[in-house]
Symmetry: C2
Subunit: 164 residues, 2 copies
Amino acid sequence: MLTETKTETLADPLDDVLGYQLRRAMLVTMTALTDSYEELDLKVSEAIILRFVGANPGCNQSAIGRALGVKRTNMVPIVAGLEARSLLIRPPADGRSNALFLTEAGKELLKHIQSAGDAIEQHFFGDIAPDTRNTLLELCRNVRAKAEGTFGLPGGSVNAITNP
Amino acid sequence: MLTETKTETLADPLDDVLGYQLRRAMLVTMTALTDSYEELDLKVSEAIILRFVGANPGCNQSAIGRALGVKRTNMVPIVAGLEARSLLIRPPADGRSNALFLTEAGKELLKHIQSAGDAIEQHFFGDIAPDTRNTLLELCRNVRAKAEGTFGLPGGSVNAITNP
DNA sequence: TATTGTTATACTCTATAACTATA
DNA sequence: TATAGTTATAGAGTATAACAATA
């Protein structure tokens, strides 16, 4: 006679829902990224913003916010924190906006940010065939393009980036 | 002479980072889902939990929390809210746990939840070829399987589900 | 001893409104 | 009038700690 093993396995009604499964998978990678950047004492949002400043020296924080889908009101404490840690400077560009530049410390940290990001990318997506990878990237572009479609989403709030 | 058009297009250093692009795409679909469920006066978390109860009548809220990656402490107000709205009941299963069941109203609402979810799925992923779709689902499974790999993530907090 | 439900609480990211200064 | 930076504040999701009751 078999001892009854309590199999706590719930039926998953979303098992075949691609949007849901993609989200679950993304949460895994975001958690890994969060943990990895924690060793650099950075949040994911801070790391991403540093990468953007590194790639766009002299841009202002509102432009980065638009690119990332982060409202300019929420950029304030993040950028202020990075400046307070001397990872970037923001001399006035004109009377109302500041030009962001990485400091030497910021540039040095950026290298580690990129290494950590690459490691995560490699770990989770390194075994994907190149053509599958391209298919995926195109899928992502299509999904984001559809955001302005039938569902009439406001462009600004479609795509915030920070929270795991 | 050409008038200089201010082309505010920042270089995107993450343009080719699959993890990042997948996340951006996911945020788009989650925003659409949030907006859609808003018409049913439901949060995404509430809708997902109702789907799980519908698929697993009699289960308790901690089990759902484990399946979704939501801590049982955070299940409390959500389930209590659904009970207060008479969408589910929770008679005691044994002395310490309750068995969750949808009410008739909950079952009726579940139909609309599924329709709304299907519409989002169709809108964003309806044009994907079946074999590509399967590739994607397998990719998701692989990513989640890797969470217990090198990065040694705690199984519990890997995969919360609610927040857009 | 482990599990279930619960309260209280803190932290993060996101959102809106409103203000100031400048283009 | 539109834009950039800012402050204050509210909401939602997630986190830990602690407790009582039960298995």
